[in-house]
Symmetry: D2
Subunit: 289 residues, 4 copies
């Protein structure tokens, strides 16, 4: 049985593009399990995600038996013609998800539990935190734990970056990390560093969003899962969740209710990322959910 | 500028099927605007919807210029091979939507308003009701109105059926019609008669669903938009909406709140149907929203 | 049978306040149908809403038979002692709701329909619009219609204010009016002028919120029902609604989906206001729903 | 500083009832922090919940200083007069919540995490499970764990009942326990045994609700938190949650998404119960949230 392969494409929109890719797939003996398209008319860009699986039998005289190496080489030619960004990924391969945390444990607990029970398809090579308190979670799940001292911030981030590299990190998740990531790190991990912000962005960006929401008197609060960029809380949004509140909810109630939003938005956002369902288009995302 | 065409396919699942359709489209000089797939593994059935538009230039030597008649004829051959149910529809063509109503006006008012303002892409050739009260709506929107006398039910339904035919009805909408449609009419209009039921089916099927919901003490109420079949309230579901309630909501509050669910579920369900986004698969639906 | 009376109180929080009001009500032979409290700890302010009905029999020797005039006079003394803002309203009395509209009809249509069918307990003495197009709605519902020419804005608003007074307006509803109300009118109608803004405030305040939402790439859009103040889109929020969207929704889809949010947020917000469920506390609201 | 006390009342509705209770509270030198009323007109029953706190100073000559013992004795007389079920609870006292689990860990993990981080105000004296697998959670949280062997069901339930008593259980939570509780246990723990059912009841009661939901083709799935009664899945509902699904969700996707509903419905339902916000009225609940 062949394994599922994901083909992700992002390129300038052109007439005949879908036809060309379809023809290519038809000729390379793969079966399409799932196909998603999107055209961003404003950017004039086209996005495509396929879940494919090799088929054994020949379909017609115009097709050839599937061979990943050959498939890649052939596709590269097509990609050049259409100026594609593209990637081909084996769905079986688990990505390394490094978790960065502070002293709020709810997102960390949720991600670890879903990983532990097999719901989240990834490896978690390490937890990095600026609080010793999180060591208990790491130890129980038998995940290496690194406490980073933030008295010297530049050194702390240098250490974090070194750790991310040492553990072959594919994606870093800021599970309520609550530290502003320096520009060079944002740059280096662009599209591979996910944050959960505890407000319905762009409302209440910055510090203490629940206090801001309370002061403004909104009737719904939320959370936003987004990629980290050097412009704080301005990164491409992957997922958002909201919850109804009322005048009787104080800031602490909002914190409690909001945690549900944070957990759910991060859970979905991270899963979409790990299943290669998210394509970044400038400061926005296409999410083939 | 060519108009958008929708190709809807439903057939037994087979290896090579997507490839064959893709190849076909690639060879017939159409551009794919939107493509949606689904495989029902339990029924081993495959569903596909394409929004395509003819392209003028030849793409390669293997393609031919688009010609709808030729496209149909060529596709018919493919369809036979794969035992497809299929249809090809021009998105510009407006369907005739006949509205059946009783004395509750909220769904009728909403559909008419959205049609009148151009949001709903269809024609409304007639309103049929068992209450004179609805005539005011029909008159204002300048839609022919037919009051049907239900003292003799079989005759009433015969009259309704005759009216549906006279107005070349494509789809009949029971906008809170509140009459049980006889089996033969269900059969004749199978897949072309849409009902809005004022409960979250399968909960509270049958009469007085809000009273049933009140008696059971549920914390959410809802509405269900579904195709009419001879098994009352058992037809394929297109769309559902729910709303939170509490112990302080009496039956009348539920009726008031539930109307919002009914309006929204019908609005979405009818739009999906008119855009050929719904494919019926036995007693369930595939909705490519 | 006596009619339902609403007693609304708002005052500095003090120990013994609830006890004093309870004792007062107990001594005045009224039955409490609904009671709601709230203490805003930040402002140290207390809010209270009672739905009461006079009872005929004497309860004890400490009580006296209900008499509205006497009740008012007695309560006035208590109100002075506790520095209360208070009002006593008969639930049977219908408020006059003037509708201001522009060229978008969905909110207007919804409010009119719910008023017409008796769901909304109020009178609608007039519709004022800067588009002739809305006359058709007014005429059908037999509501006086006034087209105001906006080529001279100050004169237009003077005319509107005169109309609001002429019709003894209790509350003015900006049903997608899309004109910035001048400061003096905001001041005069403070707490009695309700707007529906087509975004989830404070996100995307100002013009073209759906375009802003599209550009930012949010995953949920919304609408906000709020009191009008001179700080545009900064008034106290009564109700908010949101709806999920995706990358495939263009600005027009957002407009279509957002209309549902606008209609629902306005429907709830206006009902809360008419049932005296909203108390303004500086730039926030207490909503006893 | 005096602690918060909750007074919960449930009795036949009578004119003058609220007045009598208000007068009583006013005379016993307590300050009302939160007050909630409800009248069930169908059952002609009245429900009331007060959060009160003793005040030190005398308010008037008609009041006496607060004394809990005296308060209870005085109130008992009033309670007899109005045929009240009533209870007076100190909000500081933590209830003992025994957790019953099987092999699905998500609800267990969530309750334990929220208890561990102090969000859930209770004690967890023990975890009882029919799977050894859950021991790891119990051990980490340092909660006594009891594995019960279900090869002999009556003996297993006798053992469970003995454990519940040994640990002075106030409320037993079936965190996806997936065993039918025998009638005598239901009777004994009536109103003190909470279940989370993985469907939106009354839809899909009984076994395999996600499979049933899949087969029926509903567009929303849900979960229901309810009190256990001898009529399986018919107990009074405390809280319900729903989530949107589509044709592309298989049974496993529903299971994954549904877990979120289960976690959230149980989290709210349990919190309402622990804060004495739920009053059972025959087969329904009043929830003062």
């Amino acid at each position: 049985m062949s394994s599922t392969i994901r083909l992700i494409i992002d390129c300038p929109d052109k007439v005949g593009l879908v036809a060309a890719v379809s023809e290519f797939l038809a000729q390379h003996s793969v079966n399409i399990l799932e196909a998603s398209h999107h055209t961003d008319k404003q950017q004039n860009r086209f996005f495509m995600r396929h879940e494919i699986v090799a088929i054994d039998e020949h379909l017609s005289e115009q097709t050839k038996a599937f061979n990943e190496q050959e498939f890649r080489e052939d596709f590269a030619a097509l990609a050049v013609k259409y100026e594609m960004n593209w990637s081909l990924k084996n769905a079986c391969n688990k990505q390394n998800v490094a978790l960065l945390a502070s002293h709020e444990a709810h997102c960390l607990n949720d991600v670890l539990h879903r990983w532990h029970t097999g719901e989240l398809h990834c490896d978690i090579p390490c937890i990095i935190a600026n609080h010793e308190k999180m060591r208990q979670y790491a130890d129980w799940y038998k995940v290496p734990f690194h406490h980073v001292d933030f008295s010297d911030k530049p050194r702390a981030f240098a250490e974090i970056n070194a750790l991310l590299h040492r553990y072959n990190t594919d994606v870093a998740v800021l599970a309520r990390f609550m530290q502003i990531v320096p520009d060079d790190l944002c740059q280096e991990w662009a599209g591979r560093m996910i944050n959960i912000h505890h407000s319905f962005l762009p409302s209440f960006a910055g510090a203490k969003p629940y206090q801001q929401a309370y002061d403004r008197g909104v009737k719904l609060i939320g959370a936003t899962c987004h990629y980290v960029t050097k412009d704080l809380d301005e990164g491409p949004i992957i997922e958002q969740e909201v919850m109804r509140i009322s005048h009787s909810d104080g800031v602490e109630d909002m914190v409690r209710k909001g945690k549900r939003c944070e957990i759910n938005a991060l859970a979905n956002g991270l899963r979409y990322h790990l299943e290669d369902r998210v394509i970044i288009c400038q400061h926005k995302t296409v999410v083939f959910d």
